[in-house]
Symmetry: C2
Subunit: 414 residues, 2 copies
């Protein structure tokens, strides 16, 4: 039986990384008692004047008030400063009109204390749903948070936003723009959960790049599609998922202009941070014991490649087979078949790692069950499926489906 | 830990029902040693001359040769007799060109022995995939099967087609057409599974009704949409799912003509048999301890109602909450949100049984967690979601997601 108190076996060996300080951003955390006792549960990030903010959000039609509020504020005038305030312990989701009021109260309090426009205050809430958020405990903490703001406190921020995460998550990159270094540091939380919480994913990335809001938004949207939109733990979608990227413009580098080599270099660096954070979220998936990369090649269209990858990565039968270290390629064939994508059974090839398992619609003549079983003992499993129909491809990441998942989500009562 | 040897706790208390004999159909079973030892694994049903056969099949793009073969034969000339031959132990799926050959060999042998056209022999195979089907063992059994054909042996047939089912499944109905009785008897298998098998669902229904093949096909397709296409155990789809309905025309009743009151009465009876068999499949779902009915009302369109019902019924978080007897309505909200259907958070209402849990985008003021928790202890759970947007509705059936599911699918190696 999985022990859900312990750290995920897939957590990075080195612990939380040393993230570069980003000029123009300071962090503070506080134990406001939103729900938890004896741990920090509010984090404030203050951004210097001129910072631009881009974001991507859950597509859920029942998304929370904080998400709707962030979406409305993305394009607001960036002349003044800005702030991000996040609480854990209560998601303020499905709390009716009251939810909207809580978001406003918190935004107003941050606005007043930091002397910034209210439409420059971005909030997120994660934790229990359907219960009123005790926003007074948060607004009462703002001045304490303001007094504690510190450029070096990003690791504290990563801890304050955790709910049932078993480790805090950070990633960084540096990229040369002209002769100057641009830095990117990001933190994330997700996706352990205990009833009745949902596996909300929250991601905050900071950079000192100079870039316009529309240009940043375009890069963030593209990078989301191949990182956070390519991971799945259990196919369920939170009502509160939020990713914000703030660019302070404080680096000495020139402004990043779309469609230039500099933009491409920055995009690659941003993408690497987002990819690493998204993988950390999967590695903290409920009950996960294997990190699984699902590669699909040879699809007719990009949409088909994504459908097949998603079908394999979300299949309970594929995921339980991986948990059982069973090289069960038949379940991969099944998942291809049910995906709705164009596929020809007799053109399919399937590899587990470098082991060619199936080709031409049947098991490969060179395949040995021993080779397959040995490969499945790895902690990082790559399943590649070639559809043999075209050039389109997609890669998704997931984890296995174990007794630990059931224990976390079925055995614990609210 | 679930004991997968035991019979599902949701199995009907009375055991296999007493099914009426259908004039014009005889059954035989045999232990051919396809894979299993010491149990029957082949069943033959012979149908009298003039019998018409309708069917519905998996939509998988990697479906098995037997499925493709049945689809091709549905419209064949019904003047002569017909036969259905099913083996368990090996699905003959993903076996390349060899799979096609095995289907032909079996069809030819049945055709020769029973003196019927080859295009009137319908076959199904269920069991391990990717391994060559030992068709010689089946063809060698045909004459023994022929010698044993018996109108009363349908319960033996229901046992011979089982793989990892924990109980055999049957259902029947009778309907008056004019002054004469028309009878319907059906059997099904699914959907327990042990690696590396897939949860193939096979259904065979027999009636003495007189009806044309196109008229029967139209009724079967419609009834499938609201029965077998509305159940889910784990969202995975077999490459071999097959439902065949054979009408012998041997009853004394007049022919059933489309769009008449008689056709409506027959449709209702057929629908009831299909619904009951589909529920029995869910009740034998891997690790199932609860039978769950997901009702969606108030949707804008039929497609939206189906999307929401499917999203709730397939959500691992909803299904683990039910396993934990947790009235976790937040996860239902989540599943509505991710479904892709039009929904307004603040118009949603959710009931567990008769307990109104949530309304107007928040928990109901009258809801008590105790009432919810007490309801969740039932074996048959009804979750109703009203979207408050229109008149469209859909009902789906599923089971909970338990440690038993993981045990069956992850802990057992091939």
């Amino acid at each position: 039986m999985a022990n859900i108190e312990s750290v995920s076996p897939l957590a990075p060996a080195g612990g939380f990384p040393n993230l570069p300080v980003i000029d123009g951003v300071t962090f503070a955390t506080h134990a406001a008692g939103v729900k938890y006792a004896g741990r920090t549960d509010v984090m404030l990030a203050e951004l210097c004047a001129g910072s631009v903010i881009a974001g991507t959000f859950t597509k859920s039609s029942t998304r929370s008030s904080a998400v709707l509020d962030c979406q409305n504020k993305l394009g607001s005038d960036a002349t003044g400063g800005a702030a991000i305030l996040v609480n854990s312990g209560n998601s303020n989701a499905f709390t009716g009109k009251y939810g909207r009021e809580a978001v406003d109260k918190i935004s107003q309090a941050v606005s007043a204390s930091l002397q910034i426009n209210e439409d420059r205050v971005f909030t997120s809430s994660t934790g229990v749903i359907g219960e009123p958020l005790k926003w007074e405990r948060i607004t009462a903490s703002i001045d304490v948070l303001k007094a504690g703001l510190d450029a070096g406190a990003i690791s504290d921020a990563a801890e304050a936003i955790m709910t049932t995460d078993t480790f805090s998550k950070g990633a960084s990159a540096e990229v040369k723009i002209g002769d100057e270094l641009v830095k990117i540091s990001g933190i994330a939380k997700g996706s352990g959960m205990i009833a009745p919480d949902m596996a909300t994913m929250l991601v905050y990335i900071f950079t000192d790049a100079k870039i316009s809001q529309p240009a940043l938004q375009s890069l963030v949207s593209a990078a989301t599609d191949t990182s956070f939109n390519c991971i799945t733990v259990d196919s369920d979608t939170s009502t509160s998922d939020t990713l914000l990227v703030a660019a302070t413009g404080c680096s000495a580098a020139a402004e990043i202009i779309p469609d230039t080599p500099e933009a491409a270099a920055f995009h690659a660096a941003l993408q690497s941070v987002m990819l690493e954070l998204s993988h950390l979220v999967v590695k903290d998936g409920e009950g996960a014991t294997k990190f699984v990369e699902v590669q699909v090649t040879g699809a007719k269209t990009d949409a088909d490649a994504r459908k097949v990858a998603s079908s394999i990565a979300n299949s309970p039968l594929v995921k339980t087979a991986i948990a059982g270290e069973d090289p069960n390629w038949g379940r991969v064939v099944m998942a291809v078949g049910k995906s709705g994508a164009t596929a020809d059974r007799d053109l399919l090839s399937i590899w587990f790692g470098d082991v060619l398992v199936a080709e031409n619609g049947w098991v490969s003549p060179d395949y040995s069950e021993d080779a397959g079983a040995t490969y499945m003992k790895n902690e990082h499993i790559v399943i590649r499926t070639d559809l043999g129909l075209g050039d389109a491809q997609c890669t998704m990441w997931t984890c296995d489906l174990t007794h630990g998942y059931i224990t976390i989500n079925a055995d614990y009562r609210s």
